[in-house]
Amino acid sequence: MKKHYSKGSNILTAIFVVVGLLWVFPIIAVVINSFKTNAAVNLNAFALPTKETFTGFNNFVKGMTFGNYPFWKSVGYSLFITVASTALILVGTSMSAWYISRVNSTFSKLFYYLCLFSMVVPFQMVMFTLSSTADSLKLNTPWTIPIVYLGFGAGLAIFMFVGFVKSIPLEIEEAAVIDGCNPIRTFFSVVLPMLKPTMISVGVLEIMWVWNDYLLPYLVLDRTKYMTIPIHIQYLKGSYGSVDLGATMALILLSIIPVIVFYLTCQKHIIKGVAAGAVKG
């Protein structure tokens, strides 16, 4: 093995070890501080916990149940909204994309171009009117917010699905129709399995978007009753100083652990999916 690497490449590796450690330093700082007392974080955030400042898992327990809106509720809502919205987007947009590319009428083309158009519109353009529309239609709960996500996120997903459906040969679907399948069966048992690679790419993009999204749920949800993780963390920052910094770091650690586990387990799909989304303006 050693023969493959030159002396120069070993120096390069050494440099990258240092840079890599610097790179993960912010995450390490979060881990260190999540085990320290509030006073110790305030005094020196970069010091390792000592016997006096080490608090074990107290910060985690305290953070999870802190205040009149405990963090575990936000975690639950975040999980539900992410899973439900992603599922709804995948089903809704893949069906529409198939309809658009197979029917090919003036109306379906118009809808497709509107979807493309929606991709270049920043959220700030619609934030005020979207939140008032969602409010008046009573879409301000975690159970109904997936509808808003499908509406605002349809553009990119439909664009990606249409691109793929166009490359599927018609013959396979024709065979299904001749065998007596109705469109529902043709779609779910013939087309959908072929869409799997795009499903994964779109799914990854939507999961990353919805899980990390702050402004849309902040404006749409009824915040007195429902919070998501980003809203909760921003809320804690708003009351900076009055909250326990050690406990907040513990919460931040808890909120990034699922992301890192998700990343390390499906790294290949994530990098592919995120790169596929690069077309979005």
Binding site: S96, Q124, L150, L170, I270, I271, V274
Partner: protein
């Protein structure tokens, strides 16, 4: 006529699938269409309309013409946010792309642990902007404490803090695109350069870089649009602080465009119209950049 159509195999093939799907319109397209109208189309149209109105809620809107736009452009905070965003975009485009390309170039050389480093550099990209803002504000405050100051004391700290945060987040992403570009450089070209006795830097500038130009274009535009649309990180890191008074108006010194629109809404209801007008201006700006990106990358594709 119908008989004739059925004899043409190409028409038959599309009609065979097309007609039954059409009948299922309410199942396949209608639900997404309704959601699209609720979540995008109606809010967008209403947003354009309201930018010409005075309103506190969409129901009490009264038409005022272009006065909202005049008010928006007279607002010192908006102008400052625009200049700030442009400066931020230039700095982050240069910084992110130079570093991302350097890292990608190093990682595509024969090197121990290249995959692990790639994993590490990409990771910050997956953490949400609000969480990133919180983490970095803790770190910056801890560093600045040694100089007995803090992050929001000075707009310069806030600006460079945001640059560091965004670079940390996006370098990994651009690195992935550059790695893909670098791996697509034809082996025989590199070999030919080697045989001709080209030095490492000659190969880099004369062979490698011209070949990865499409990736460079994509990354430049991505960092540009990302800088213009930046919101969460800006809100969570400094929230626009510190603010100063210029011509009787409060100006948040570290605010970028998206955050400025948001905070304009929150001043009071007299500013709703101007905020919506700013949003329309912002939309036109971002859409223009996105379309320019599309045409630039399309052209490159044709050339290849």
């Amino acid at each position: 006529m119908k008989e004739k159509k059925h004899h043409d195999p190409s028409i038959l093939s599309s009609e065979l699938i097309r007609r039954p799907i059409r009948r299922w319109f309410p199942v396949f397209l209608l639900p997404t269409l309704i959601c699209f109208c609720i979540g995008f189309l109606w809010p967008f149209a209403q947003g354009i309309y309201l930018s010409f109105c005075n309103f506190s809620t969409p129901r009490d809107a009264t038409w005022v013409g272009v006065s909202n736009y005049v008010k928006a452009f007279k607002d010192a905070g908006f102008i400052h946010a625009f200049k700030n965003t442009a400066l931020f975009a230039i700095v982050s485009i240069v910084l992110i792309n130079v570093l991302a390309f350097t890292i990608a170039y190093a990682l595509t050389q024969r090197m121990r642990g290249a995959n692990i480093f790639r994993t590490i550099f990409f990771m910050p990209n997956l953490i949400g902007g609000v969480v990133l803002g919180y983490i970095w504000s803790m770190i910056f405050d801890a560093i600045l404490k040694h100089y007995s100051t803090y992050l929001t004391a000075n707009a310069t700290y806030g600006f460079w803090g945001l640059v560091i945060l965004v670079a940390w987040q996006q370098i990994g992403y651009m690195m992935i695109i550059y790695i893909a570009g670098l791996q697509a450089v034809p082996e025989d070209m590199l070999e030919a350069a080697k045989i001709d006795g080209a030095s490492k830097s000659q190969t880099l500038f004369r062979v490698v870089i011209p070949n990865v130009m499409p990736s460079i274009t994509i990354c430049m535009f991505l960092t540009l649009t990302n800088s213009f649309k930046l919101f969460d990180q800006n809100l969570a890191l400094t929230g626009g602080a510190p603010s100063v008074i210029i011509n009787h108006a409060k100006v948040n010194m570290t605010e970028l465009l998206a955050l400025n629109i948001y905070s304009t809404y929150n001043i009071n209801k007299n500013w709703h119209g101007a905020a919506q007008a700013k949003a329309v201006v912002f939309f036109i700006l971002v859409a223009t950049l996105a379309i320019a990106q599309l045409t630039a990358t399309r052209k490159k594709e044709v050339q290849q």
